[in-house]
Symmetry: C2
Subunit: 336 residues, 2 copies
Amino acid sequence: MDAKIIDVAAKAGVSPATVSRVLNQANGVTSKTRDKVMKAVDELNYHPNAAAKNLRQQKTMNIGVIAQDINNAYFTEIIKGIENMAYAQKYRVFICDAENQPEKEREYVTMLMDRTMDGVIMITPQLSDEEICEVANKGYFIAVIGRNIEHPRIPCIYTDNVKFSRQVMEHLLACGHRDIVFLNGYPEAIDSYERLEGYLKALKDNQIPFRPELVENGDFNENGGYEAMKRLFDKKIPFSAVFAANDEMALGVYQACAERGISIPDQLAVVGVDNNRISKYVTPPLSTVNQPKYTMGAIIVERLIDQMNDNQYEDKRVFVVDSELLVRGSSNFARK
Amino acid sequence: MDAKIIDVAAKAGVSPATVSRVLNQANGVTSKTRDKVMKAVDELNYHPNAAAKNLRQQKTMNIGVIAQDINNAYFTEIIKGIENMAYAQKYRVFICDAENQPEKEREYVTMLMDRTMDGVIMITPQLSDEEICEVANKGYFIAVIGRNIEHPRIPCIYTDNVKFSRQVMEHLLACGHRDIVFLNGYPEAIDSYERLEGYLKALKDNQIPFRPELVENGDFNENGGYEAMKRLFDKKIPFSAVFAANDEMALGVYQACAERGISIPDQLAVVGVDNNRISKYVTPPLSTVNQPKYTMGAIIVERLIDQMNDNQYEDKRVFVVDSELLVRGSSNFARK
DNA sequence: CTGAAAGCGCTAACAT
DNA sequence: ATGTTAGCGCTTTCAG
């Protein structure tokens, strides 16, 4: 069906090698023959077969991004950073949605072994450190966003969860809150664990006793936040602020409050995490923590490409980026 | 670096052909040899090279999804439907983000020509009908979601924008509204055009004169909705309801109202489109139009795979699916 | 049931 | 500056 390089060569009256040269490096060819070749290419609408090219060159110029859940804007922002930087370096980016399933992550990681992808970026993977290291040990190129994996060949980028959690808490404490709820994501997630740790440390720093009944687990989704709030209300214990482990759950808090007629921020302050695109459009605008998502994606893919190119250990492997607390209407209310 | 089929064959004491048979069809092989082969495969951690396989078989089992913007939950829901159905049929799905740029769409479409993908699904493409038809004419497999393209080889699925727009309008009219704003997306988009058409038809059906000053263009994003509302408020003309061409813009309306102290729904009714995941969590919950997004993805990919398999015209090519108006708190208020 | 060998379409080393 | 050719790793006839 499709034209092959040999057809182009015949039409242009040259050899396949010359066609290849024109289409690739493009030096060492007369401009006259180049024109002949390009004419034939156009006329036959020739597109080099990627499989043949990949097989011959032992590379694909493809990078896979394995995201935990493309429904979450946190991931899609990062992906845009990856995409644009990779594109500038002639790599194509393919997004894979793991749908929160470790088996799917594992399945997509095999794209490295079967050489469908030259490299892969995992965003907050669910696979264990060991499993990911094992892949890197076999010589494949893999980078990770949202976690630090101790392996000399795995570039990592992440924010300090503990640090920004403490900042959030300091902000709420400064507003006069003492009974602060922490709405966790699913407890297995490393982000959950570290954000909780920051919450606890801040309490300790301020000599406020930890009350376990103020911590509820959600699932990083709106409904999980909503259900968790209902459970809290049912406990009939007083609290004046909620620190939700992400913005989606904070939205669930909004809903639960709306149903009970509880006004934000005067009756309840709310802070989320991730600076979801919609968070500034809700009423009141949601205070949240912003991570440089786009930049994180761009940095890590650049680092991955570097590594794929010279295939040697480079000094800068781990990047820790700062987050920024955005105080908006949902918590900007000094409690007397 | 990696083991090849010939290594496996040597280790198992068989020929490469036998290894291939074991790994593929798996019939016509003694269970004894199969075991030997599988053992060697495991020990060598063998993964067939995809490029070689693709080249030999002239297919990749890859399907590409070209989405307009993966930041928008409308697309990601559809993609999940595609993904899961394709997965069940042994196809891998790769998501490509066109970032609203026609050139990027075009670039990703070349994945068909270079045989990186066996087929491609475009979700609300920006390319012209002609351009898409041309690709199909060359024998490539392409399917479209969100638009009907008249071509015997292009499966299409979409909802009737005009129809549900009229339903939205009937609902608002039934609530007693007469001065209804229409907040359009970018005017070039076919969805914008058709939704506007429904708006106009509903007015006509009800003998309500069309007032152009009640129509504003947005960009399908929160900020566009917000800015459009500000322009409307500045006009100082009365209106009691807003029909926004999607939920994102409706959120911008919420923000604009919050800033002016306008209460939804009693001072202003708002209806969106798409049933974005977050729309039921905002306050008040947003009335919207639900499309069976997941199902649409699943149907079209199944149809595309059918076509790739028997490569012949099938009767059912165009699917029109019904949408459903979800009346929630933002418009459920009878005006006296 | 299994093996031998051709060939998918391209690039790169070598030759001219 | 251009052509010839081997071979990337696999599957699939065709033989046996």
